[in-house]
Symmetry: C2
Subunit: 112 residues, 2 copies
C-alpha cells in the first residue's frame, strides 16, 4: 500500500477542534505562542504541542523572534485532502446512481 | 469552544492510509471483515478495529449476515469537512491577495 505521511498528518492535525480554531485565529494574523494560548486557556506547553502537530503537517510555520516564537499560517493548501475527498464523494454519487437505476428497473419489472 | 465530535472523528478516521484504502475498496462493493482483511494482510482483530473507527465516524455501516459481518460504505458525504477546508482555502487566498497588494504598494513606493 502506498503511504502518504503528509496527507495522514494533515488529516490528523485537523481532527482536533483546538487546532482547527488555531488555524482560524492565524488567518487573522501572526501570533506568538502566548497570544495563542491565553484566550483559549491552554498552558504554554499544551499550545506548543498543538503548534508542533500543525507545523509537522505543514499547516503553520514558526519563527523565533527575540524570546518569543511567532506562529503564522503555512503555505499548505490541502490539495491532496481535497483530491481524496473529491474522489470519495464521486464514488458515493456513482453508488447512488447505480441504486437509482436498480430501483427504476425493479419498478419497471413490477409494472410488467 | 464549540465541539464537533463527528467532524473530529471523520478527520481522524481519514488520517490512516489503511482506512482510506478500505473506503476505496468498499466503493467497489460490500465486503465481509475477512474479505477486507485478507488482501491487505491485516489480522481480523486489526481489521475490526479499523472498521469500528470508520463506523463511529459514520463512514461505513456494518450488518451481521449469518456468521459474517458485512461492511458497506456509509451515507456520510463529508460535507462538514468540505465546508471547513473551503473556509481555510479561502482564508489562504485572502492572505495571498493582501500580500500581493502589499508587494505592489512597496514596488510603487520604490519607483517614486
Amino acid at each position: 500500500m502506498v503511504q502518504y505521511p503528509q496527507i495522514d498528518r494533515a488529516f490528523a492535525a485537523l481532527a482536533d477542534p483546538t487546532r482547527r480554531g488555531l488555524l482560524e485565529r492565524l488567518g487573522r494574523g501572526t501570533a506568538t505562542i502566548t497570544e495563542l494560548a491565553d484566550p483559549v486557556g491552554i498552558s504554554l506547553t499544551g499550545m506548543k504541542k498543538h503548534v508542533r502537530v500543525l507545523e509537522e503537517a505543514g499547516l503553520v510555520t514558526t519563527e523565533k523572534v527575540g524570546r518569543a516564537r511567532q506562529v503564522s499560517l503555512g503555505p499548505r493548501r490541502l490539495d491532496d485532502l481535497q483530491e481524496w475527498i473529491d474522489m470519495y464523494r464521486q464514488m458515493l454519487d456513482e453508488r447512488l446512481d447505480r441504486f437509482g437505476e436498480l430501483l427504476e428497473r425493479t419498478q419497471q419489472g413490477d409494472q410488467q
